[in-house]
């Protein structure tokens, strides 16, 4: 099991719009936007709701639970900074609030399947703390 803190990998360039998401992750919480006009979850962050275009988005803590809709075990990463971690898993997580996010899936037993129930976990990675997921 690699210590993700030792990786030198590209992170986000945090803006005013995206700051609540990344700062919450650093504090161990998963927070996403919610549209109070059409009552839908929104991920990634936008200035207006991409479903109904209302100027009615607010940040709400998510349950941190989701379903794995696909995954890949990466042997040749797109960025060389991830080479020390190969093979590792990335996956698509459909959050219980609706939207799907891509994340890193921690699975030391290497037994993940499409349909698995996942839970969010903040993991120090390089110089940041990122929202990863693992099996319940």
């Amino acid at each position: 099991m690699i210590d993700y803190r030792t990786l030198d990998v590209p992170g986000p360039t945090i803006t005013d719009l995206s700051r609540p998401f990344w700062e919450a992750a650093a504090r161990g919480r998963l927070t996403i936007q919610h549209c109070t006009s059409c009552n839908r979850g929104v991920f990634y962050p936008r200035p207006l709701c991409p479903h109904c275009w209302a100027d009615a988005l607010e940040w709400r803590d998510a349950s941190g639970k989701g379903t794995l809709t696909s995954f890949s075990q990466i042997w040749k990463p797109g960025h060389p900074g991830w080479l020390p971690a190969v093979p590792y898993y990335v996956g698509l997580v459909q959050l219980s609030e609706g939207p799907t996010m891509l994340s890193h899936i921690v699975d030391e037993r290497r037994s993940i399947r499409v349909g698995d129930q996942l839970v969010f976990k903040s993991v120090p990675t390089g110089s940041r703390i990122l929202p990863f997921f693992h099996k319940i």
């Binding site: 275009w53 990335v90 996956g91 349909g115």
Partner: protein, 387 residues
């Protein structure tokens, strides 16, 4: 020269107040706010926008700009493009919008252009959503995206690794008839495809196009003028386009893509059924792309591409509906963005009847598919020997 058909009208406008410094706001945020103004001014619903023309966004989104904007806006246009004509880009969008409407590809086009001005400029200017919300988790590059699409397809339908590998083997086999192909002289069996290294499971190395240098070009003119030129003309009888998203995480479906409505529109314009098509020139960046396209074209039920291919007699010029006779990009090599044009060029050769070593008997029509980003940008052409 003919006169322009006077059908398009400018129905809504938006404009943001200029600022010397946008203090970290992204271009995408500015574009969404100004578009909301124009949409409200026109009195249309955002869902009525089915055409999207955007300007270049130097730094922030280097590639796939229209798809990135469409995804951010929650839109799925059936015509989209980036107009890169410097200061002439804005007016350049307007007549292109009118031309797309006249061509029957869309009805209501949003033309939007703008840029942030962050002083001092950020150290890493690339801040589009795929870079910001996928790359940090160890997912970057097309291999990961198509691996995720393939895994979802396998999980949904129970297709086996050898089903997809047969597409790579068939492409390599076709490449043996094309001495231009990068894999000419290098066939690969299904077993050899499966023995090639895993790059991103379930994708093996031989299921992924090899990047090469190259270029393709095509001359388009009027049917009248083409009739006076050297070759029998190849006519464009139908077209379809659809953009659904940019990042694989935002895909409305992982097993079916925007090629499905694009193929339907192109065939309807041409007045043809998919079974009438003599040659399938299908975009093949990965094996899964061909599998999904066969299914999205309605040639078989979802998950049944392997059985259909077997019934079809494989992919060669002798097959019932031959596929990618030049070897496809899997056999020919992918000359970067020209890869998609190789499928047009081969279709012209086949319809002209001049495909060396691999001519399909009496080839009168072809379906050409183009695909971009994460099975998210689709263009389809129906080409024919007859108008």
């Amino acid at each position: 020269m003919r006169h322009m058909s006077p059908r398009a009208a400018l129905a809504g406008i938006g404009e943001l107040k200029p600022e010397r410094n946008t203090h970290g706001v992204t271009t995408m945020e500015l574009l969404m706010r100004v578009s909301a103004e124009a949409i409200a001014d026109a009195g249309v619903a955002p869902q009525e926008i089915d055409g999207l023309l955007v300007g270049p966004q130097v730094g922030e989104t280097p590639q796939h700009v229209p798809a990135t904007v469409a995804e951010y806006f929650g839109m799925q246009p059936s015509m989209s493009n980036m107009v890169d004509l410097g200061g002439a880009s804005g007016p350049g969008m307007i007549w292109r919008a009118a031309a797309a409407i006249a061509a029957g590809q869309c009805e209501t086009v949003l033309c939007v252009i703008g840029n942030h001005r962050n002083m001092p400029p950020p150290r890493s200017p690339n801040r589009n959503p795929a870079r910001e919300f996928d790359t940090p988790f160890g997912a970057s590059g097309a291999n990961t995206s198509y691996a995720l699409l393939m895994q979802a397809h396998m999980a949904a339908y129970g297709c086996r690794a050898e089903d997809y590998a047969a597409i790579a083997a068939g492409s390599r086999s076709n490449a043996q008839n094309n001495d231009k192909a990068i894999f000419h002289g290098k066939p690969a069996s299904v077993e050899e495809v499966l023995a090639s290294p895993l790059v991103a499971s379930p994708l093996h190395l031989f299921e992924i196009v090899m990047p090469v240098a190259g270029a393709d070009a095509v001359i388009v003119t009027t049917a009248e003028k083409a009739a006076r030129l050297r070759h029998p003309p190849v006519f464009l009888n139908g077209a379809g386009e659809k953009i659904t998203h940019r990042a694989v995480s935002q895909a409305p479906s992982l097993t079916s893509g925007p090629l499905k409505p694009s193929i339907s529109r192109a065939l309807a314009q041409a007045g043809m059924r998919i079974q009438d098509i003599d040659f399938l020139s299908l975009y093949d960046c990965y094996t899964i792309m061909v599998a999904a396209t066969i299914e999205d074209a309605g040639l078989c039920a979802p998950g049944k591409f392997a059985e259909w291919l077997k019934d079809n007699g494989g992919m060669s010029c002798e097959a019932r509906q031959p596929i990618n006779t030049h070897g496809g990009q899997l056999g020919f090599g992918q000359p970067d963005l020209a890869g998609g044009m190789t499928h047009v060029v081969e279709a012209v050769r086949q319809i002209r009847g001049t495909a060396p070593n691999r001519q399909i008997k009496n080839c009168r029509s072809a379906l050409v598919t183009g695909n971009g980003a994460t099975m998210s940008e689709a263009v389809v052409l129906v080409l024919g020997a007859d108008l």
